[in-house]
């Protein structure tokens, strides 16, 4: 026998142990001809399996194991494309319908499938009703033989294996313990597979079934029947207007281009024709039309990624950056030779995205759409924790070991034999899939029911969910749309709406924020708190260092700020400021001219590989992808060799090739292509423009949408520094969200901690219906707040404007007493005539009236809002601050090169690791006058890290440093005030 069927991989989640590659390797050693990996009720691993099979010379057989309610196994093998479609449908139904009867479903339709089971009852039920039915025998089960004889069914020998080596049983037990929430000590027999469920070689199978040669023949017969081994059968788009799609696209593009450009020049027309030609050849027109429809459903969008290099996308309104004006490289998006489908990522306002996804699903049909899946895998820490738990080790001990291993990197400190075993097993389960979740924005739309193309289940949120990850989805030809959430789009939307309410209307057709000089100047000074993507301290410092705020430089800055490129940033600033430099190689002088000779964008990697090493466009793009996905190992090694050989052939000196290769590797992990950076820069400019010209409305929107880089307190301080007046929260002015009135920023009720949504909606609705509140009695007579809501509202100073300097303590007591009285009156049928509440309460309150220091009110205000309404929270420490000898942050420039003492309210911090693996930190502080940046080098950071968190003032001592024009404090010490 040379075919192995019924083998489980680790895609039988928390059950199987080995990867398809490991199984394939073993099968290759055994010179197996066909192999069927049959995972439990899923096709999660089918693409991995088919991929590894390609290089092995072994014919893969697509297969699934179904388990009936009586725990009997049914192995289903795919013969042809129809069978694959059927098995996708069956897996989808099994995973979405609890009561689904797989046996009847197979009896009803098993087209393109071969079925095998060792369960006698099932064989009796299915015999002669399923065309290709085999009675399975396995190394542990021969029970089906008499039944097969009786019913005249052919036999087939299946592996029914769970792991390769006998010692893998331990791994299986740990996985089962994790799955069932038990320990390996408390698993019972039914919880795990038999101890001998290992993969047997063809020789072992031959020997084992030597008395039943017909079973071995049956195995080969199944292998012969199942010829399906390629899922990809062309790209799968939704059907959009049939053959008319291309004409419709052309029409829409030309209409859109007219709107965008006014007049369509020859250059524009040539570019449109060039792109449409490629799109037409590839048959991608329906995809663009679908995206066009989706984008039209949203208030505003930001098409990003390589698609922003396309004039078609720009004309359709999918993207917002003119690819011609900004010299964007279309081939990064689409070429005739590249085999992959277009990938358009579109951002939507974060609070509209879920609704939009639902709308899209309704528009194209719930049975034709699915979100893309993510296979959650064990990461190192998780593998360690879960294995240790399976061995009954307490959490505290696990945490201690975690610290030793991951933070102190001290593996030698682990000498306990139990822990050594845990580590060995954890290492083995690291990388194994353990569950499925939803990709953040990927959506697939198919021309027919999606369950005929791919296995679908239901996500925890109720969305239809593909059983495949992004890569598998693409490998199957399903074209993914990425619909993502973006807070800044909501910020821009809300700012414009707020302005609209004030009668200020910005015409978006003529709005050119990137050309606004004042905005550019503000950005050049690093004034960008709240601005999309360029508000972090590192980015603001870069802006200050370069002194550049124009669109082209913002595009560069958005891309060059990435973790692996730190060492190139200083060099970039030096060159930008006129420092001398030579191109890395003459052939790169034009390619990298706009980025001062530094590889900045993803496509620079591809272009460089083409120019220096003679890569084809397709190979260069693959190299770029491999580097960005941190896909090291053999693939990278292969391309590295190709690169160096190519460079050598082109007479590029080896040290230059080395230098360029090292710069290319700085694109591992997180990096952008230029069209993406340009798209982001456009959103940055829109928000920067609004911040510059309409600061109150902008900051209100930033605070309302939350989730920015900084805490609310930091934005409030910034608003104050911008000269805005901060008002409220106020009973007669505030809305739920923040909003602006001229240069006033009115705090929303949403800022008040612990205030219920009901209280907010009741208050606003009552005010809108019956007018402003006059005094506390008016409030008492109109709204019944809960005690907790009263306490929160009073602490936030919501009633201050209607009480004429009444202390908040008295406000609270008055309101609570009044509301209690009103509640009693409402309950009493024979209530006394209501006394004027205010007089009654004032009289009653006098007895307990106490004079509370203002400081106490401020503390409560800070605890409730997270900031103070009228001043910086440092006011709470006013007496201690008065005794401190310090300079103010706004005076730092005058102290350059000198040692200073500052007051520091921590705003944000970013911990990084040096080359030697030591932690250091960049901390942003502020005082009442300005924000300032500091750096704590490893030794200092190690000493003071414990006090660098929380919300309390610190005394920061250090020297003022000027680094390429940006001032920062090199900290010597940090002490609590």
């Amino acid at each position: 026998m040379r075919s192995l069927l019924g083998v489980r991989s680790f895609y039988s989640l928390l059950y199987g142990v080995c990867s398809p590659a490991e199984i394939m390797r073993k099968a290759s050693e055994w010179k197996v001809t066909s192999l069927a990996i049959s995972d439990r009720e899923n096709l999660y691993g089918v693409h991995d399996f088919l991929e590894v099979a390609k290089d092995s010379g072994i014919r893969p057989i697509v297969s699934v194991e179904f388990v009936t309610r009586q725990s009997a196994s049914l192995f289903v093998f795919v013969r042809d494309r129809k069978g694959f479609s059927r098995v996708c449908r069956l897996v989808s139904t099994v995973r979405t319908e609890h009561e689904f009867d797989i046996v009847n479903a197979l009896i009803e339709n098993s087209q393109g499938l071969v079925v095998a089971t060792d369960d006698v009852t099932l064989l009796e039920a299915m015999a002669h009703r399923i065309p290709f039915l085999f009675a399975a025998v396995t190394p542990r089960s021969l029970g089906s033989i008499p039944c097969a004889r009786r019913l005249g069914l052919p036999l087939a020998a299946l592996e029914d294996s769970v792991f390769i080596e006998p010692e893998d049983m331990t791994i299986h037990s740990v996985l089962r313990a994790i799955a069932l929430g038990k320990t390996v000590g408390s698993l019972d027999m039914n919880d795990r597979c038999p101890t001998d469920a290992r993969l047997l070689s063809p020789e072992e199978m031959d020997k084992l079934f030597s008395s039943w040669p017909q079973a071995l023949e049956g195995t080969e017969r199944i292998a012969e029947l199942c010829t399906f081994d390629t899922i990809f059968d062309g790209f799968i788009f939704p059907d959009y207007m049939g053959k008319q799609a291309f004409q419709e696209l052309r029409k829409r593009v030309l209409t859109g281009a007219e709107k965008r450009y006014g007049e369509i020049s020859d250059a524009i027309m040539d570019r449109i024709d060039y792109e449409l030609d490629i799109i037409g050849q590839k048959g991608f027109a329906p995809y663009f039309l679908v995206m066009d429809d989706i984008v039209a459903m949203a208030s505003r969008t930001c098409g990003r990624g390589s698609a922003a290099a396309s004039i078609v996308s720009y004309s359709l309104g999918i993207t917002n950056v003119d690819p011609i004006a900004h010299n964007l490289y279309f081939e990064r998006f689409l070429t005739v030779s590249r085999p992959d489908p277009p990938d358009i990522d579109v951002d939507f306002a974060w609070d509209e995205r879920d609704e939009l996804l639902n709308k899209v699903i309704e528009r194209f049909g719930r049975d034709r759409c699915a979100r893309v899946g993510n296979h959650n895998r064990f990461r190192a820490r998780c593998a360690l924790r879960e294995t240790a738990k399976a061995y009954g080790i307490p959490d505290a001990t696990i945490s201690q070991a975690e610290r030793t291993l991951f933070e102190q990197q001290n593996i030698d400190a682990i000498d306990d034999p139990l822990w050594k075993q845990v580590l060995t097993i954890a290492k083995r389960i690291e990388g194994l899939p353990r569950g499925i979740s939803m990709h953040c924005g990927g959506l697939v739309i198919t021309p027919g029911p999606i369950a005929d193309f791919a296995p679908v289940e239901r996500s925890a949120q109720g969305f239809p969910l593909l059983g495949w990850e992004k890569e598998g989805t693409e490998a199957a030809g399903l074209v993914k749309l990425d619909l993502l959430g973006n807070r800044s789009l909501a910020v821009i939307r809300d700012t414009l709406q707020n302005l609209h309410r004030q009668g200020i209307i910005i015409d978006e057709h003529t709005w050119r924020p990137a050309e606004d000089k004042i905005t550019q100047e503000a950005l050049a000074q690093g004034d960008s708190m709240g601005v999309f993507y360029i508000e972090s301290p590192a980015m603001r410092q870069l802006q200050i260092k370069t002194g550049k705020g124009d669109f082209d430089h913002i595009v560069i800055h958005s891309s060059i700020i990435r973790p692996a490129a730190n060492k190139y940033i200083a060099e970039y600033v030096r060159r930008l400021k006129g420092g001398s430099w030579n191109p890395l190689h003459p052939r790169l002088s034009t390619i990298l001219a706009e980025t001062y000779g530094i590889l900045c964008y993803q496509e620079d990697v591809s272009k460089t590989a083409v120019a220096l090493a003679g890569f084809s466009e397709a190979d260069a793009d693959t190299l770029r992808k491999i580097i960005s996905k941190k896909a090291g190992g053999t693939k990278l090694h292969y391309y590295k060799e190709q690169f160096f050989n190519g460079c050598a052939a082109n007479k590029v000196e080896s040290h230059t090739a080395e230098e360029i290769w090292s710069m290319m590797l700085s694109f591992d992990g997180y990096s952008f292509c230029k069209p993406h950076s340009a798209s982001y820069a456009m959103v940055s400019f829109q928000s920067a423009y609004l911040r510059t010209h309409y600061p109150a409305a902008f900051m209100a929107a930033v605070l309302s949408n939350q989730g920015g880089y900084y805490r609310a307190q930091a934005y409030i301080s910034e608003a104050r520094r911008m000269g805005l007046s901060i008002d409220g929260p106020d009973i007669n002015r505030s809305m739920r969200r923040y909003y602006a009135q001229g240069s006033s920023l009115v705090i929303g009720f949403m800022a008040i901690g612990n205030l219920t949504k009901t209280a907010v909606s009741t208050l606003i609705s009552e005010r809108q219906t019956n007018g402003y509140f006059i005094d506390l009695n008016d409030v008492i007579s109109r709204i019944a707040f809960s005690t907790e809501d009263v306490v929160s509202l009073v602490a936030a100073g919501v009633f201050d404007s209607i009480v004429k300097q009444m202390p908040r303590t008295l406000q609270a007591r008055t309101l609570l007493a009044g509301m209690h009285k009103m509640a009693l009156q409402r309950q009493s049928l024979f209530a006394e005539p209501a006394l004027p509440v205010s007089r009654l309460l004032q009289k009653e309150s006098q007895a307990i009236a106490l004079s509370i220091p203002n400081q106490n009110e401020l503390r409560e205000e800070f605890a409730t809002l997270g900031f103070l309404r009228r001043s910086h929270p440092l006011l709470l420490w006013a007496s201690q601050i008065a005794k401190l000898k310090r300079i103010r942050a706004c005076d730092i420039p005058a102290w350059e090169g000198r040692f200073v003492t500052l007051l520091g309210w921590p705003v944000t911090q970013k911990e990084i690791w040096t080359k030697d693996g030591l932690a250091m930190n960049f901390v942003s502080f502020e005082d009442e006058t300005a924000l300032y940046e500091t750096v704590l080098f490893p030794q200092t950071y190690q000493r003071f890290r414990n006090i660098l968190f929380g919300q309390k003032p610190l005394i920061v001592r250090g020297s003022v440093q000027n680094e390429q024009g940006a001032l920062s404090i090199e900290v010597r010490s940090v002490t609590p005030l």
Binding site: A177, G181, K182, T183, V184, G185, S186, K389, A390, Y391, G392, I393, P394, D395, A396, T397, S399, T787, E788, V791, V794, A795, P807, R808, T809, L810, A812, R813, L816, A817, G818, M819, H820, K821, E844, A847, I848, L850, I852, N856, E860, R945, N946, I947, F949
Partner: protein, 390 residues
């Protein structure tokens, strides 16, 4: 003449931390916390003085505390040590009065009424007790003598971590009025917020509230809170129901166990011991309880009423295994377990006219087994399922 205050409250601040220091004096100068290791988001349960100086307090998330103090020592709760300490304190106190209320967490209330002729003034007696606790257990409680438990508790809170205070009868209100309102038992974070926002900072201010004001500010609990602020407390020192009959055995494993079979074997052996003791006392069990002590010091417990009273080892083992399954809720190795046979009573089985033969046989077998074990030792004859442990 006003009656002498007779209620004593002994309060050991940060009891768990104090016990840890009493066990290991070297901890006295080390910042450490006691936290429940099993919890996913553990919070600090008790704080040493040194840790408190660093700003750590009970209720703080453990991860937060660990960031505040580098290499902060974290000790697991040690319920066994707490029980032993409580028992020792109770034992010391019981030589002075029979009326002792032994609350958890280092709180002991005593009623010394009628003991002054034997032991002198109550305050002196309280000092003796405190000194003896200090000498024998190494703990130093703060001590208050007052007319009732509430005032005594407020007083010990006011003077903690240590000290002695006596409040003469009739002077309760004067003593507690200027105290911080947060010292009142029952004031949690929500109540504290109301107190702060309404400006009520001292107990006396709370005591001055009218009924309707108390109700308006604090809802249904307002009157109770206000009365507490007046020092009103009529509750008695309750000695608890110590007369319940129980047979209990604990077993500590030489190393924490994971294997279910080994744990069940240990349980069977323990059941044989308690079963024998129970039958010798001519009793049968109405309920079986299991306490599990995990490797990290956390305990879980489960008790189950039996469908009918149990007498024989086989039925006791079966019931105990079921209880064990319910009690063993955590995925942590087990360090030890305790078996408790409770609701003990004399056998009430009526002799059936037609006793099932099987029961009769089991009974005879059990008698024979018990006799052998008494004569030749417990290892002489044992259930097969306990052999793993043996």
């Amino acid at each position: 003449m006003m009656p002498q205050s007779s209620i004593v409250h002994l309060n050991i601040t940060d009891f768990a931390a104090a016990i840890a220091i009493a066990k290991d004096r070297s901890l006295a100068d080390v910042p450490f916390v006691v936290a429940k290791a099993g919890a996913a988001r553990a919070i600090v349960l008790a704080v040493s003085n040194k840790a408190r100086e660093e700003g750590i307090y009970s209720g703080l998330p453990l991860t937060h505390a660990q960031r505040m103090v580098k290499n902060l020592k974290v000790l697991s709760p040690d319920p066994r040590a707490y029980t032993i300490a409580h028992r020792s304190m109770e034992e010391i106190a019981s030589t002075y009065t029979p009326t002792i209320q032994n609350d958890s967490g280092g709180h002991l209330y005593l009623d010394l009424a009628g003991t002054s002729s034997l032991f002198g003034p109550h305050i002196d007696c309280a000092i003796h007790i405190r000194n003896e606790i200090n000498r024998r257990i190494g703990l130093t409680p703060s001590v208050a003598v007052a007319a009732n438990k509430l005032v005594a508790k407020i007083a010990t809170r006011a003077i903690r971590p240590a000290g002695i205070v006596g409040i003469r009868s009739g002077e309760e209100a004067d003593f507690i009025a200027p105290q911080d309102a947060l010292l009142l038992p029952g004031v949690g974070p929500a109540m504290a917020k109301i107190l702060s926002v309404t400006g009520l900072r001292e107990i006396g201010e709370l005591a001055a509230l009218q009924d309707h004001e108390a109700l308006a500010l604090f809802g249904k609990k307002g009157l109770v809170l206000r009365d507490s602020a007046k020092g009103i407390d009529c509750s008695k020192v309750s000695a608890g129901n110590l007369s319940q009959r129980k047979i209990r055995r604990t077993v500590d494993f030489s190393e924490p166990l994971l294997d279910q079979t080994a744990i069940q074997a240990a349980l069977a052996t323990t059941i044989e011991d308690v079963g024998l003791e129970m039958r010798q006392s001519k009793l049968e069990a109405g309920s079986v309880g299991i306490n599990i002590l995990y490797a990290d010091g956390v305990q879980t417990a489960c008790q189950e009423k039996c469908f009918r009273p149990l007498q024989f080892d086989t039925e006791l083992v079966e019931a105990a295994c079921n209880v064990l399954c319910r009690a063993a809720t955590r995925r942590v190795r087990i360090r030890g377990l305790a078996v408790t046979l409770a609701d003990l009573d004399a056998p009430s089985r009526q002799a059936d006219l037609f006793t099932p033969e099987k029961l009769e046989r089991i009974g005879r077998l059990q008698v024979a087994v018990d006799r052998s074990r008494l004569q030749f030792g417990p290892e002489a004859i044992t259930l097969a399922c306990s052999l793993f442990h043996a």
